[in-house]
Amino acid sequence: MNRWFPVSACGEVAPNSVAHTQLLGQELVLWRAASGMLNAWENRCPHRGVRLSLGNCIGEELRCQYHAWRFATGSGQCTHIPSHPGQKPASTMRPMVFPVFEDGAFAWVNLTPDAAMPVSAAEGPGLNLRSIFTVAAVATVRQLLLQGYAERAVNLVDEFTLEGAAGPPLGIRFMLQPVTQGQTIVHARLRGAIDAAQRLPLLRTHNARMTAVRDRAEALSAC
């Protein structure tokens, strides 16, 4: 599918760290090099298939936890095989690399490896809310949100994006990450100017509301 999906709020993956996510059934290792470059690769070392998300970021490389093979940021090329230290690894020895885009608020991934970068303006002022992992299909979550949020209408922007008002002057945008058939992550962002004193109360208020949506979606899915 040639489409960009959010996989994480930008601040959730610090430099020198490794995270694990999944998009439309495809497991991904999401890791940020010391320099700040964010990578999204298939979560499987090409050597013996071990999840790369078990590995460590060492500077500009990701090191697999099994045999300590190292792969370079950006290209994913294998740079070092400790069992044969003098040899240069072949360029074919690499995990599948997916394109990543950051808009200042969220990191977006496309599962089509040669997809063109999206053309969009950087996100304006606002506040990323806590992303909510939901054991429910994306359609279930979408339907629930469309019924309204915080007693206000929510409208469909596209299949995976919804918007509403969050109490003027703020708007709220929901971005759905389909993890697998039965799991969805709901990312959300308040849009508008927010002063520092409002930050934590807003985070808590919306977290309570969104976890209520999660609980309803999961109850519906359990039937």
Binding site: S8, E12, A14, P15, N16, N56, L203, N207
Partner: protein
């Protein structure tokens, strides 16, 4: 010399080994033949701990069972900074105790699931895993909001307490019992911070941190 009655693969014993290392308290480990011999249920061991559980310590004649109780004792007796178990701050102490209780819940859910999958312990595995996920959801939300307020640890802004060590092992070993942690990014970041503490040592099933540089790039965190 303090004696620790120990099993290499026990998360509860590991908590105590961690604090002993971090406080630099010398000790002798007396290995108990846990699996499949079950030496911890033998007559001689039941005299030491009638519950037939590990860990037990013998500190110059003071015999204590229960991992959380041992952590309380070791911190009170040997931590000159008073930070690991803040006895002089009633509110902080209350919070630590709250999370020590939570750690016990992790043992009977995530810990039990792990023993079921690895050593064939007879438990209701579905109930254990569901129970573990319920606790991990609470933990992830707590840690996420703590991060929003610049707080790095379970109970305090800038230094770990025994609550962090009490919860760490069975959280980090949860996948061995089929409790997967992809939905819990804040837990992942907290686990990395624990791994960067001075005096940290891994155990089988917990991978060490890559280098001394914690995520984000700042220098090692003193214990």
């Amino acid at each position: 010399m303090l004696t620790l009655y120990d099993y290499e693969l026990s998360g509860n014993c590991y908590k105590v080994r961690l604090l002993l290392n971090m406080l630099q308290v010398p000790f002798t480990a007396r290995a108990i033949d846990f699996h499949p011999v079950r030496e911890h249920k033998s007559d001689w061991f039941l005299k030491l701990n009638p519950l037939g559980q590990l860990p037990v310590i013998d500190d110059d004649g003071l015999v204590l069972r229960d991992a959380q109780a041992i952590l309380v004792y070791l911190a009170s007796r040997y931590d000159e900074s008073g930070r690991w178990y803040p006895r002089d701050d009633a509110a902080a102490l209350g919070k630590v105790s709250q999370w020590l209780g939570f750690a016990e819940g992790l043992t009977t859910t995530a810990g039990a699931a792990r023993l079921h999958d690895t050593q064939f312990l007879d438990v209701d595995i579905g109930k254990c895993r569901a129970g573990a996920h319920a606790l991990l959801r609470i933990l992830d939300e707590h840690l996420w909001f703590a991060e929003q307020e610049g707080q790095q640890w379970l109970c305090s802004v800038d230094h770990p307490t025994i609550a962090d060590l009490a919860c760490f092992p069975y959280v980090m070993l949860s996948e061995e019992g089929g409790v997967f942690r992809m939905p819990y990014p804040a837990i992942r970041r907290w686990g990395e911070r624990v791994k960067h503490l001075a005096g940290f040592k891994p155990m089988s099933g917990i991978f060490p941190a890559a280098t001394l540089t914690p995520p984000g790039g700042s220098p090692p965190i003193p214990g």
